[in-house]
Symmetry: C2
Subunit: 726 residues, 2 copies
Amino acid sequence: MDENWLVRETSFSRETMLARETVFTTGNGYLSTRGAFEEGYPGERGATLIHGVFDDAPVVITELANAPDWIPFAPRIGGQRLHLDEGELTGYERVLNLHNGLLRRKLRWRSPAGQTVDVEFERFADMADKNVLVQRLRVTPVNFSGEIEIEAGLNGVVANMAREHWNKMEQGSTGENGVYLESSTRHTGIMLCEAMRLLLVDAPGATFTVEQRENAPTVVARLRADVGQTVKAEKIVTLYTSLDVGRRTRAATLQKLDEITRGGPAFERQLAASEEAWERLWERSDVQIEGDDEAQVATRFNLYQLLIAAPQGDEYNSLGAKTLSGFGYRGHVFWDTEIFMLPFFTYTKPETARDLLLYRYHNLGGARRKAAYGGYKGAQFPWESSLGGEEATPRYVSGPDGAEIRVWTGDIEIHISADIAYAIWQYWLASGDDDFMMRYGAEIILDTAQFWASRAEWDPASGRYEFNDVIGPDEYHEHVDNNFFTNYLAKWHLELAFKTKDWLRQRDSAKYEELAGRLGLDPASDARWQDVIDKVYLGIVPDSKLFEQFEGYFQRRDVDLSTLEPRDKSVQALFGIKETNSTQVLKQPDTLMLMYMLPGEFSQETVRTHWDYYAPRTDVTHGSSLAPGIEAILACRMEDPEMAYPLYMQACQVDLKDLRHNTADGIHGGTAGSVWQAAVLGFGGVRVSEKGVDAEPHLPAHWRSLKFKLFCHGELREFDFENSQQ
Amino acid sequence: MDENWLVRETSFSRETMLARETVFTTGNGYLSTRGAFEEGYPGERGATLIHGVFDDAPVVITELANAPDWIPFAPRIGGQRLHLDEGELTGYERVLNLHNGLLRRKLRWRSPAGQTVDVEFERFADMADKNVLVQRLRVTPVNFSGEIEIEAGLNGVVANMAREHWNKMEQGSTGENGVYLESSTRHTGIMLCEAMRLLLVDAPGATFTVEQRENAPTVVARLRADVGQTVKAEKIVTLYTSLDVGRRTRAATLQKLDEITRGGPAFERQLAASEEAWERLWERSDVQIEGDDEAQVATRFNLYQLLIAAPQGDEYNSLGAKTLSGFGYRGHVFWDTEIFMLPFFTYTKPETARDLLLYRYHNLGGARRKAAYGGYKGAQFPWESSLGGEEATPRYVSGPDGAEIRVWTGDIEIHISADIAYAIWQYWLASGDDDFMMRYGAEIILDTAQFWASRAEWDPASGRYEFNDVIGPDEYHEHVDNNFFTNYLAKWHLELAFKTKDWLRQRDSAKYEELAGRLGLDPASDARWQDVIDKVYLGIVPDSKLFEQFEGYFQRRDVDLSTLEPRDKSVQALFGIKETNSTQVLKQPDTLMLMYMLPGEFSQETVRTHWDYYAPRTDVTHGSSLAPGIEAILACRMEDPEMAYPLYMQACQVDLKDLRHNTADGIHGGTAGSVWQAAVLGFGGVRVSEKGVDAEPHLPAHWRSLKFKLFCHGELREFDFENSQQ
């Protein structure tokens, strides 16, 4: 296998264990499982998170419930169960194959009694059959002959850190060395059945025992192995939730298990089918970089994480900010999805982009009520979204010293409604999916436009509309007035709404009339929208060439970030929330962000002027992980790929190298999305507009070439840039 | 139709409207719909409640969410929509046919403009196809010829009183005069799709319009009718929730709609199939009383309410205390199900009884945690149960003056765990369903026995085990020690557990070993159980022939209830909670209740002695509605059917006559169950024991005969008692 598809680890350390569990996550768009060990390890944070399986939780409102553990699979040698914290580990290698999603781990282990074995674990989430998970275990005695036991089980005693979410409903045997475990989330009542079967390959003398341990049904195989002789075991797992099949989860799960294992050992067969599905994904989605293996594997790693996390064929779930790879942000969905991750799907897997946007459509009900509760019209999407479309942002969290910190984003970080409209427009532009636009997209754009128009405040003194008391993407500054990003995008959104209305009226006047009736679109709303477009304040400060990020920003204290180096934490962690708020230091440069999003609206010179001011004031290393990728793109647009490159690598390696010391909480999904954008829209210089697609690449000097594909208007276009500098 | 199958109402009054909505509930074991009007009425409390569709709610924790309204169906005459609070009503009749579940209403109405029409509404929930609801509307102009419009719709703007539970996800047209509405509960994310199609019968000139009103898609038919010419319209509704089919609710709903309406008008066809299903239900379940039409129809009314409410072919839901007919008790499940309602199913529809008990099995997880949270072993069922098996009893409610009243039942009304074991035993005895007992029943009985043994407190001073700080079935007395009902039943339960263990060990030793391992059954637990059985305190007071209801009861203030007459409210409402607690007045006579439940354990003389003491002290008219039916049975056992009869009618007519002024909140499901028990086990004198079934009838003098059937050991036995006194 080409090393550029492999993430490899050659030693094990307790210190990095939790971050590496995140890195070695496997998944298939239905669920993901963190890279914890099949045999377990003290202090591990193993988890399997399934799209949509939310349960209530104090403070954080709702979270994806860590599902009953399906991975337990371990040998016992002379009665001693394999545990890496006992005995002696004399060989260790773990490899994640990004090309086919297979995770493999090889150990040489000496038991406390001195028996040495070679052990090889493999597992994958079947990309071709989302309800199937597959494991293989190979054990070879190195210095003895004797009895080996293989223990394979399901374990319902799981928690999200310490919070338990499941009630066991039933456990039992399926016959033929299989067991099942049926559980239900405690509050939302979502049912989940998992079943497994243990199969040995070429082991005629083996005996099997089913052990119905409470909430942990287990099958144990016993057999004799001679020195050098490899015992091969497979464990096939199937699972369904009530979100899939209603409450017939057990029947569906057992039927699937029988179907998969009917022909005996199934690992190779399932892997082949899964590999084919992976092949089809990479065929469209791969980004090939020649001349930089580190960047190549890191780039693919980020795309892999997006591919395993995005719901497949499922319009009722979206992609959380931390994907399905950790407990951070509880599986909640933020703007990260639409602005950072969605472009990857819009351009390489548009059917998934459509589903992700349908998730928003299906949650318009919650958005309408959020608007109504605030006293506004139309639809205002929640800052954090989960099950049922309610605002899921905690109102407070515990700070490091235990004090409660009020979280304001759910109340006033309002730009998300425009971000979603922007993503719909981008999807429409790229896909030409008029059907989506007519049936769903237009309604979202128009009803969120109603929100913006009613949220705008008229200031008679200055004769302008304002959006006051907001948080922009730069979250170091709370409760600001007239955030440039927010105001500008709101204006852009209202203009888009007019275009959408006109388009819809022409394409399907009956649908238009229906929507106009339901959403209250009339001459009065038209007039209001136009008035806000004409008169919204846009941060133009007299005698300055700069848009001011928000009113009064330039008066805040200026801090030379270089004076704080070296540092290992964010400026907010150093200064505190209040003090940071009083400076010009940015968590992310949202004025630059806007210029990235709307490239046609700002001149090269304007961008450069703003770069020169805002980039040095941005906490790009420890502020938002979303910033480096976007800055890399702007650097490319300013024709400076060498400046872009370290920013790109900072984004690429945020989790591979745990640059922000929080990879244990899960993959930085938005950052992963920004990697694709930086590669394709930055170095590749691709721009998609109404007129079509063009590209002006700017490759780092050491890259020999950059290749990728993207869909534009239903057509898969291939780009292959040789580096002219080489 | 035999009048003894009909509940008839010949006038409409606003005052009784809400109670009558409850009485005229239609349903099919999947959902029920209150008898609100198709055209709506100000102040109505229409509702459709679907098994399992719970959503979070403040204070009451969780409640069945009133589903989007499927019944809107009304004519417009000369542009004026039918409304009974406008124009003039000159004819009115409403009839519920208990035999086939058809609700029919006939009106003669003069519009404000003076146009008079005869209108006939019919509707039923299809008993043969649970996801289908059927309506018919017939309109006949009496004094004019002209345009008639028929409006048929779905309405997502619904609430549980004022609390809204749904987000609209999508509305649309199905083609062919159909619309759909897809919604999701706000917190639990349960999806529901409803679809409908409007069909006219013999109306070639009609035109149809689809009106996509926000959250209320509607189809309007317009046609001309001549005086005396009847316009016939049908509305076919289908619906599925994600509990049925996962998130494919829309596809399932639309497919079913097409299937049902493929052949055009479907009312007659669906009614015929539904009637057949009803026929099969009544074939086993009917209780026939000759010589007392009032008792006959009232008895059938109660059985009807149980038949439409019990989940059909569904082991994940149970039957709430108020069935599915109102918002009272929020759809929560109490002991009412196992002790009062279950016997009807155990003896006439054992497959439903099994499902109801499986619901408890599936919720053992919650029961185990409730025990663990209290510091006990084993499983303790919640006093109120809903989705997910958590304790769903509110911790407080608002009193009439707005003050918060602490509700203690969830904490200390612990007898429910023994009630469930009792119900399992009763089901087993009647059905001989060893398979259920081995796989499920035994585990419940044994793990709840573990709870009792650990909950028992040893009092070294008296040398006895006690159960202190409890509430017995008589809820007028809170925080009592050694409630006789609770202590006796706990002892009985532990004895049952020993028998169950022995039986299981003999029948299937492997299953026994598995259970023993999982539940911690060992010599120590055996010893503890036996010790509690031998030494639990049973309320025997020196120098008294009476078991004392709880310790110190006899010292409480005695009140002659006759001195409070006439009264129209409960003693607790008259005296207040605290004052009532200090008296001997009972909400229900739980010592007598126990003697009813365990007839073999108390002599006739003992029963009579206790009756003489406790019955006069019971607030039988306004205390618990569960009391009269049980007292009627005891009266029969004391061979006094004439004393039993008024008690029986009090139970029978509690909702038909709104005797307790709370029928608006829903049918008294437990009372309905007590009616069947009083008829069959009381007047019919049936007793089922290990030895078999026998009967010693005691009919009221004016009854000519009593006929019913019941299953015993899988065999349907028929009983036909002629009254020998006549």
